[in-house]
């Protein structure tokens, strides 16, 4: 069978903010750019980012990029790379103005300047008073950014392959990435896209966990492709959880609900946060509340028939307060649970939100892997956004920094690709064995007969990750988690599809998404087991302290041999003094 082929200078996989910002940079420089997206571009998960984007514009309160840098380093629990963080914070103001020029309708102050709101973790003067750094377009900043960037790309003549799923990267014997095999979802036909450079911008992997806030498209496809191409994943043990999601469904219930006076109860009706945090109680920090909920459930004090959640009591606040102060939350609870929070308590459980780890890159967006002395770049491969690990978020991400990350490093990757294309003007010869390997991944799903179902195995994987690699982590729990994920991985071979049609066979896409999740799950649980300390979002009950002597380093998980390596954190910024690790107090 002959395989259809197309050739481009650049292939961007993923059409969220990172992919689109990068594509825009390139299309404007006359590069021939293809963007592949499994859903229509403006349905990418960037659309869900409501909070806003950080930049030290100082429109509301005094501010400075250097203070922003300090807050980001501290927020990362000192695992963030300080060169990349300096680069991001310095670029922020310029890029927010640029978004404004692209058409993002930022909310305004009376004097006409961009409105900025305060957000957790922001300070003036290196840990002083609260700063107001987050620029927002009402509560739809991500939506506004995504639509503006898409329109700008249409204008710049970026070529879109909408509803195409990327199967695998194509590489040659010398390690160059030559593009990817993709499949058109509508026809089921494979297409080989050859590209001088390929950018992975596929977003996070929230679907690893049963309870998560992410869209169902967030299956970490780029992370899976990277692992299969021999590239390690960095810092996968760091996954950000919110303490209160709707149990079993994941939708976020903002911390504001507890801020307004809501509190948590176990099955005995006990206000258990009093035991874990006698002073702050229900307003303790996110990780403390998350761990307390998981502990109550583990120790048999969870509510419901399965005992797998706790209750958030809001009814004592009264209908008026709920309607006035928490209207969105009341809508969400009534829609998805059919209960009235003014009358009944709400089942909640920690919900997975953001993937701090990902494909290791430098601040130019180039994918880098360790070699004997230091690291080297994978020629022709870039990554940006949540799927990448630059690392600006380190062990924990600050609110308002993810939309910033995608535009800063999307653009940086675009700029670096332009240079790369000047030096690499021709397509390299295709490596047929790599193409055959990618095709085999696709045709494997043509196997007929009885077997396990994708949906069942996915559910088991998500439940396993939640139970054994969620917020409650000890050596025993994680060891069991590794074994369980390995058993599930073995069962992948027995999975069969019942639908073998070609046209819009979404079952086949879901099967390949599950393969990606399976690989990423193993990377996550193995990395979490190895890291014997508590830092940022990774919190070990058996190692409650941060350990800078042994663990101030990035983890790198390789699929082959399931091995871990480590690399140092870049503590040296580009032009300013380093912020040395110290205890985090908020």
């Amino acid at each position: 069978m002959s395989l259809a082929r197309r050739k481009f200078d650049v292939l961007a996989i993923g059409a969220g903010g990172g992919g689109l910002r990068s594509a825009l940079q390139l299309s404007r420089e006359e590069a021939n750019v293809a963007v592949v997206s499994k859903v229509f571009p403006t349905r990418s998960h960037t659309v869900a980012a409501q909070g806003g984007i950080n930049a030290a514009l100082a429109n509301v309160l005094p501010d400075n990029w250097h203070w922003h840098m300090y807050d980001t380093v501290k927020g990362s629990d000192y695992l963030g790379d300080q060169d990349a963080i300096e680069y991001m914070c310095r670029a922020a103001s310029h890029l927010v103005y640029e978004l404004e020029h692209y058409g993002v309708p930022f909310s305004r102050l009376d004097n006409g300047k961009i409105y900025q709101r305060p957000f957790g973790g922001q300070s003036q003067n290196f840990g002083g008073d609260q700063a107001a750094r987050t620029c927002a377009a009402a509560d739809r900043t991500g939506h506004a950014m995504l639509h503006s960037l898409y329109q700008q790309n249409i204008r710049a003549k970026t070529h879109f392959f909408d509803e195409y799923f990327a199967v695998d990267l194509i590489k040659d014997q010398d390690g160059f990435i030559l593009g990817a095999l993709v499949v058109e979802i509508e026809s089921g036909e494979p297409l080989l896209i050859e590209a001088k450079t390929t950018l992975l911008a596929t977003g996070g992997a929230g679907q690893l966990f049963r309870t998560n806030t992410n869209a169902r498209i967030n299956t970490g496809d780029g992370l899976g492709m990277a692992l299969r191409a021999g590239i390690p994943l960095q810092d996968m043990e760091f996954f950000q959880f919110h303490p209160t999601g709707i149990a079993g469904k994941g939708m976020l219930i903002t911390e504001g609900a507890r801020g307004e006076g809501g509190y948590l109860l176990n099955k005995d009706g006990e206000r258990f946060m009093e035991r874990y945090a006698p002073h702050a109680k229900d307003l303790a920090s996110r990780d403390v509340v998350s761990r307390a909920i998981a502990t109550e459930v583990r120790e048999g004090r969870g509510c419901g028939p399965e005992g797998d959640y706790v209750l958030l009591k809001l009814d004592h606040l009264g209908q008026e307060v709920l309607n006035k102060r928490l209207p969105g939350i009341s809508d969400t609870i009534q829609t998805f649970l059919h209960i009235d929070p003014a009358k009944e308590p709400v089942p909640v459980f920690p919900t997975a939100h953001y993937t701090m780890g990902g494909i290791p890159t430098n601040r130019h967006g180039r994918v880098v892997v360790p070699v004997e002395q230091g690291e080297e770049e994978i020629p022709g491969l870039y990554a940006a956004g949540e799927c990448a690990c630059v690392s600006v978020h380190g062990a924990n991400r600050l609110g308002g920094n993810s939309l910033l990350d995608i535009v800063v490093f999307g653009r940086a990757a675009g700029n670096d690709i332009i240079d790369y294309l000047k030096k690499n003007r021709y397509h390299r010869q295709l490596d047929n064995s790599s193409v055959e390997q990618a095709m085999a991944r696709l045709t494997r799903w043509d196997q007929k007969g009885d077997g396990e179902r994708v949906a069942d195995l996915r559910y088991e994987l998500q439940a396993t990750m939640e139970k054994y690699c969620g917020v409650f982590r000890t050596k025993e729990v994680l060891q069991e988690g590794v074994e369980k994920v390995l058993q599930l991985e073995k069962r992948m071979a027995d999975v069969r599809l019942h639908d073998h049609s070609r046209v819009f066979n979404t079952a086949r896409i879901e099967a390949m998404e599950l393969e990606n999740l399976m690989d990423i799950a193993l990377a996550t649980v193995v990395s979490a087991l190895a890291r014997e300390e508590s830092r940022g979002a990774h919190s070990r009950i058996d190692f409650p302290q941060r350990d800078d002597v042994h663990w101030l380093k990035h983890s790198l998980f390789f699929k082959e041999g399931r091995r871990l390596e480590y690399k140092p954190v870049t503590l040296k910024p580009l032009s300013v003094e380093s912020f040395p690790p110290k205890e985090r107090v908020y």
Binding site: H143, A215, F504
Partner: protein
């Protein structure tokens, strides 16, 4: 017919969990029993951008087209435990 359904099912994959959690179960449980006109209205509903769709499905915006408004109400009612 099957192809149209499969295409719509993929259109139910959106950028927000809230939308996925309402649209996908509706497609699986309710869509097939709808009269043709309402099936058409559902397809039209899906053509809205994500944020607008969220406002409609949460009942904060009512679409002008009555059929679309009706089917949106049914999607909202079908969401839940």
């Amino acid at each position: 017919m099957e192809q149209k359904r499969a295409r719509l099912l993929w259109q139910c994959r959106r950028g927000m969990l809230e939308l996925d959690a309402m649209l996908q179960p509706f497609m699986e449980k309710v869509y097939d029993d709808l009269p043709g006109q309402q099936q058409q209205a559902f397809a039209e509903l899906l053509s809205n951008p994500d944020q607008v769709l969220l406002e409609i499905l949460m009942g904060r915006t009512i679409p002008e087209n009555k059929d679309v408004a009706n089917v949106a109400r049914r999607v909202r009612e079908a969401a839940g435990p």
